[in-house]
């Protein structure tokens, strides 16, 4: 796996997630955290692109603590995986580099 992309902005307000997804490739991972978890909602403006990338093999994760904090657990796309801070550390070590989109 090459790059882990982290996104901490809501795609309803910022273009950050869209920018990330435009250069994300199939061996990459995407971790949504802080307000970035709004990007994991079924109503996310990036739903089509996210699904396309997941089908190509990109793994997309949302940080469970931030999801819970915002009450979003039942509103997420089913193809997005949930992870915690331990998982975040593991993802950081499993990828060659981390690119933070903020």
């Amino acid at each position: 796996m090459s790059t882990l992309h982290t996104v901490n902005k809501s795609p309803f307000t910022h273009g950050t997630l869209a920018s990330c997804l435009s250069i994300c490739t199939d061996s990459d991972g995407v971790l949504l955290l802080e307000d970035g978890v709004f990007g994991a909602m079924t109503t996310t403006p990036c739903a089509t692109r996210l699904t396309e990338l997941i089908e190509q093999g990109v793994r997309v994760y949302a940080l469970i603590d931030d999801v819970k904090a915002r009450g979003l657990e039942k509103m997420l796309m089913s193809n997005i995986e949930l992870t915690d801070y331990v998982g975040f550390v593991q993802l950081s070590t499993q990828h060659r580099c981390v690119q933070s989109w903020y």
């Binding site: 790059t3 435009s22 250069i23 060659r96 580099c97 690119q99």
Partner: protein
């Protein structure tokens, strides 16, 4: 050991200090003889507009600082094509012509080649 380091600058100049911090970091890293590249993306491409008169707001112009990069051996300077297109700016309107445009696919490949990414 010589490492491949890519600086990604995605924020407009002046509104925040992020763009300036990116430039300072690049110039600092240049002193350590590493394989550096700099990519302008999203609103970061606005740093490359000519005719910046930052003295009007009491700041130093990026247009006067960026052309110094090749003097510090930072010669791999890239700009994301789709970010330019989204803002209606063409490559020949940019501050200096030694920047290379890369489309999204090429940017993906550039990231995959690096040992370290520094995002600003």
């Amino acid at each position: 050991m010589r490492k491949k380091i890519l600086f990604i600058s995605r924020h407009a100049p002046y509104g925040s200090s992020i763009a300036k911090e990116a430039l300072d970091a690049v110039l600092t890293a240049a002193a350590y003889d590493q394989d550096l590249s700099l990519l302008f993306m999203d609103d970061g491409i606005f740093q490359l507009l000519p005719n910046q008169q930052a003295n009007a707001i009491g700041q130093k112009s990026f247009a006067s600082m960026l052309p110094a990069l090749p003097l510090y051996d930072v010669e791999n300077i890239f700009v994301h094509l789709e970010s330019l297109q989204a803002r209606g700016i063409s490559k020949n309107e940019l501050l200096f012509d030694s920047v290379q445009t890369l489309d999204s696919t090429a940017v993906s490949a550039l990231l995959a080649q690096q040992d370290h990414l520094l995002s600003f």
